[in-house]
């Protein structure tokens, strides 16, 4: 029995990228028929380890045992042959193929498709029945929701007879309901004797779904414990290496005058599809309005329209002044002059120029500020660098080297650069999207504190996040967005994840009217 009890065993795995040691002598044993969680901050080496297991990278040293047998995994084909399947964070599906076609892609039995397709159809029916994986095999991928796409990825792995399934941050794009469904599927897989490895940074999921959990920190495996015998606080401490505050500490808000008033805001994308279908709300001074919702329901367009990146219709008033929503005066520069700072959702795409140094990024959006000009002709780069050093120190950006290009900083430190730049402009309104996406726990704590501090200075804050925990702990008022509309406003004290989850899925009507501050 003994040699059969372990599905995966890694012994002494090491991997270096140049001078960076991504994995250092990693040992991990995953018992068969369990759900095994791997957590760690960004850059802790989780993805590298899983990439080695799936054959994307070759380890510099160490051995991989699959089902007790020493196995070489030089490429992903060998991983599949060894019974390992992987569901990536970003799905790898062909948009204009059906579910069935995607499932057999790369696993066809012969040159004729029909035999493979009919065989796959039977297998899929069986799998769907066994694991609550109900997906219409003839549906086109482009018509499916994110939750369904993920199930297709799982089906793909199971069709290839995977006994060990690795999921990389699977819930980032799911509603709470869809996430629950996913965990039910995983439990079903486990009951059938399959082994699941779940990579996540969400402590709650680890606690809910896993049997054992391994914690990684800076390339090493810090601990492997039974989930039942640990606590979120203990895991967070292991991940960061010091005690962290998981709960956000904040005083009750003292909302003042209305800073931002949005009335019937509508946005169309470049394909003329209406993405924002008449959104109205207010934010007062000293208040955080949190927008909850599954990604892609119009939150990005809301930030883009208010931040001057997309033209819109409707009426937006900032401290009594109407803001132009298209044409002259509707660009990002004008918005900044009007007192709106914007930490965009996607810092790599919008918030930073990754090839620019830190000091060049600190001027981004504010290059017209008089303090950065030497004279009419030239910029004062020295002043800018001094300013950057000051901000880097205040926001504890590491390493504090203003010449380093933005791409060389970790996710958390990149975000600190953006947050420092935007908050230090002392705006009246801060738009902040996914403030802690891809940010390590230590930095999350810091960024949350900064947002609360800005609120307590009497500024208005619009917080958009797909992390429901974040919305619930940070917001003074919550609005839920679905399909380009606000489904209603809730007081975080009087609502729960269940109710918000229903609203995020488009169910539940309006309860508390047009959302005056409670």
């Amino acid at each position: 029995m003994a040699e059969n009890t372990l599905a995966i065993e890694l012994k002494g795995i090491s991997k270096a990228f140049g001078p960076v040691q991504a994995n250092k002598d990693i040992n991990i044993a995953v018992p068969k028929g369990t759900i095994h969680g791997i957590i760690g901050e960004n850059g802790a080496g989780k993805s590298t380890l899983m990439s080695i297991l799936y054959g994307f990278y070759r380890a510099d040293a160490g051995q991989i045992f699959v089902g007790g047998r020493l196995t070489a995994i030089p490429d992903s084909q060998s991983a599949i042959r060894a019974g390992i399947g992987m569901v990536f964070q970003h799905f790898k599906l062909v948009q204009n193929f059906t579910v069935l076609e995607n499932v057999i892609l790369g696993a066809e039995d012969g040159p004729l498709l029909n035999t493979s397709l009919s065989k796959a159809r039977k297998v899929l029916e069986g799998l769907s029945r066994d694991y609550e994986l109900d997906v219409d095999p003839d549906a086109l991928i482009e018509d499916l929701s994110v939750g369904h796409l993920q199930r297709v990825e799982i089906l793909k792995a199971l069709y290839r007879q995977a006994d060990i399934l690795i999921l990389d941050e699977p819930t980032g794009v799911l509603t709470p309901d869809e996430a629950d469904h996913l965990f039910r599927i995983l439990k079903g897989l486990k009951d059938q004797g399959k082994t699941v490895i779940l990579i996540t940074h969400k402590l709650r999921e680890i606690m809910e779904a896993t049997d054992n959990v391994s914690v990684m920190r800076r390339g090493t495996m810090v601990a492997t414990v039974k989930t039942a015998e640990t606590s979120p606080e203990r895991l967070a401490e292991l991940m960061v290496g010091r005690k962290v505050l998981l709960e956000v500490e904040k005083k009750p808000a003292t909302p003042g005058k209305v800073v931002l008033k949005v009335d019937d805001l509508r946005v169309r994308d470049e394909h003329k599809v209406e993405r924002l279908k008449g959104v109205s709300f207010e934010i007062r001074a000293g208040e955080i309005l949190g927008i909850a919702g599954v990604a892609g329901n119009g939150q990005s367009e809301l930030l883009a329209a208010l931040g001057g990146m997309m033209r819109a219709t409707g009426k937006v008033t900032l401290q009594g002044t109407d803001l132009p929503l298209s044409g002259k005066g509707s660009d990002g520069q004008s918005r900044r002059r009007a007192g709106i700072a914007h930490v965009p959702e996607d810092r790599h795409h919008y918030g930073l120029i990754l090839d620019f140094s830190a000091w060049e990024n600190v001027a981004f959006g504010y290059f017209n500020e008089p303090e950065y000009q030497k004279n009419a002709l030239f910029m004062d780069n020295d002043a800018l660098r001094d300013d950057t050093r000051r901000k880097m120190e205040k926001y504890d950006v590491r390493p504090p080297d203003c010449w380093l290009p933005a791409k060389s900083f970790s996710g958390g430190n990149q975000q600190k650069i953006v947050v420092a730049r935007e908050m230090e402009q002392n705006p009246e309104l801060l738009l902040i999207g996914q403030p802690t996406r891809g940010v390590d726990i230590g930095a999350i704590e810091f960024i949350h504190k900064q947002i609360i501090a800005l609120r307590d200075q009497g500024k208005a804050i619009l917080l958009v996040s797909v992390e429901l925990d974040e919305i619930m702990s940070m917001s003074d008022r919550i609005a839920v967005m679905f399909d380009g509309r606000l489904m209603g406003f809730r007081d975080p004290e009087e609502t729960d994840e269940r109710e918000l989850g229903m609203m995020m899925a488009g169910m539940a009507g309006k309860r508390s009217g047009q959302g005056e501050a409670a």
Partner: protein, 366 residues
């Protein structure tokens, strides 16, 4: 993950690329029964072995600095200006119209006015594709290529039917007035101690070098350059920062076209002293290679322009003194462009791997 040390990235990569290009060129020469050693000797002797050779090398270099800078500034805005050739030809038209417009009392006045004329004509010629790109989304690579042909056709028409003096056989403008004659390096005091024979390199060289400084200052010291570079790196991010894409596309292309046009002071006013058909002789295209090899930095552009100046002059010497066909010059240039431009990534990858190995061996030894 592995990264090259900066010195290797800046100096070693182009050097290795050049050596590889040289090796292949040598093999080609061997295969047609010529001696590569002899060919190299003739090239170096002819282009760099005498002040006279340098006078030609620097003349070509001057043109290439302008067109290289033109490509560089557009490149930083994320725009690939292939139209340097056409812009240079239009710049030549600007120079000719200015030079022929009056009897210039002194060359400094003529030079100033001709510089403006060249830059304006080149800029306008680049401005049309820029406008089409900015407002209509017509791809600038396609439009600038087409504008090269339009420019060539336009100049044929103008030189044959409009500018050609009655009774002259070749399609060219009349000779410029004496007052528009630019001093060559052999006409300038002190410098003429070095250049004792008449050479085509002229005062435009100093304008080119000054422009390299100006381009550097614009790109890295002004708000405009900051916006150009930001826009070039990431258009969505530029939109987030409130940078106006139309403005950046227009301004960077106007600057680019202006620089390409200014090249014509060198060849039209400084050397030919009249406007000839196909006056720019491909220098607009060489500018692309120069910018690529110079890593889109003005210092790199000046050095790469010097290299291509050497290849041009050395290649011409090959045709004069050896039985190596003149086309070999084009082969060598092609190989240099291929290795320093297109295969640059390959060389960098190999070197990165070599450095990585070296480093891990050092770690192992320690």
């Amino acid at each position: 993950m592995d990264r090259l040390p900066r010195w290797a990235d800046v100096a070693l990569v182009p050097l290795v690329s050049l050596i590889l290009a040289g090796i292949i060129a040598a093999l080609v020469l061997l295969s047609i029964g010529q001696s590569p050693v002899e060919a190299f000797r003739v090239m170096v002797d002819g282009a760099l072995g005498s002040a006279y050779g340098w006078g030609y090398t620097l003349y070509y270099t001057t043109s290439f600095i302008f067109t290289g800078l033109a490509v560089t500034i557009a490149f930083h805005a994320g725009l690939f200006n292939i139209g340097g050739e056409g812009q240079a030809q239009l710049g030549g038209l600007g120079v000719a119209l200015v030079a022929l417009s009056l009897d210039w009392p002194h060359w400094t006045l003529a030079l100033t006015a001709a510089t403006v004329g060249a830059a304006v004509f080149g800029a306008v010629w680049a401005g049309i594709p820029a406008y089409l790109q900015a407002k209509r989304g017509s791809h600038i690579v396609i439009t600038t290529i087409m504008f090269n042909y339009i420019a060539a056709a336009l100049l044929v028409y103008l030189l044959v039917d409009v500018l050609r003096p009655a009774g002259q056989m070749d399609p060219a403008s009349p000779r410029f007035p004496e007052g528009a004659k630019l001093p060559a390096l052999n006409d300038i005091p002190v410098i003429n101690l070095i250049f004792q024979k008449a050479v085509p390199a002229n005062v435009t060289l100093f304008i080119a070098l000054a422009m390299a400084v100006v381009v550097w200052a614009i790109l890295w010291r002004t708000r405009l350059g900051y916006q150009i570079r930001a826009f070039g790196k990431s258009e969505p991010a530029a939109r987030y920062a409130g940078i106006n894409p139309v403005f950046i596309i227009m301004v960077s292309m106007l600057l680019s076209g202006g620089l390409a046009g200014m090249m014509s002071i060198n060849n039209v006013m400084g050397e030919a002293e009249r406007l000839l058909q196909n006056s720019s002789e491909g220098a607009g295209f060489i500018g692309i290679a120069v910018a690529l090899m110079g890593r889109n930095h003005p210092i790199g552009v000046v050095l790469a322009a010097l290299l291509f100046g050497f290849l041009y002059q050395g290649g011409a010497e090959l045709g004069l003194w050896t039985s190596i066909p003149i086309e070999m010059r084009i082969v060598v240039q092609g190989l240099v462009i291929l290795f320093t431009g297109a295969l640059d990534v390959m060389v960098r990858m190999l070197l990165t791997r070599a450095f990585g190995l070296l480093r891990s061996q050092k770690l192992g030894a320690a």
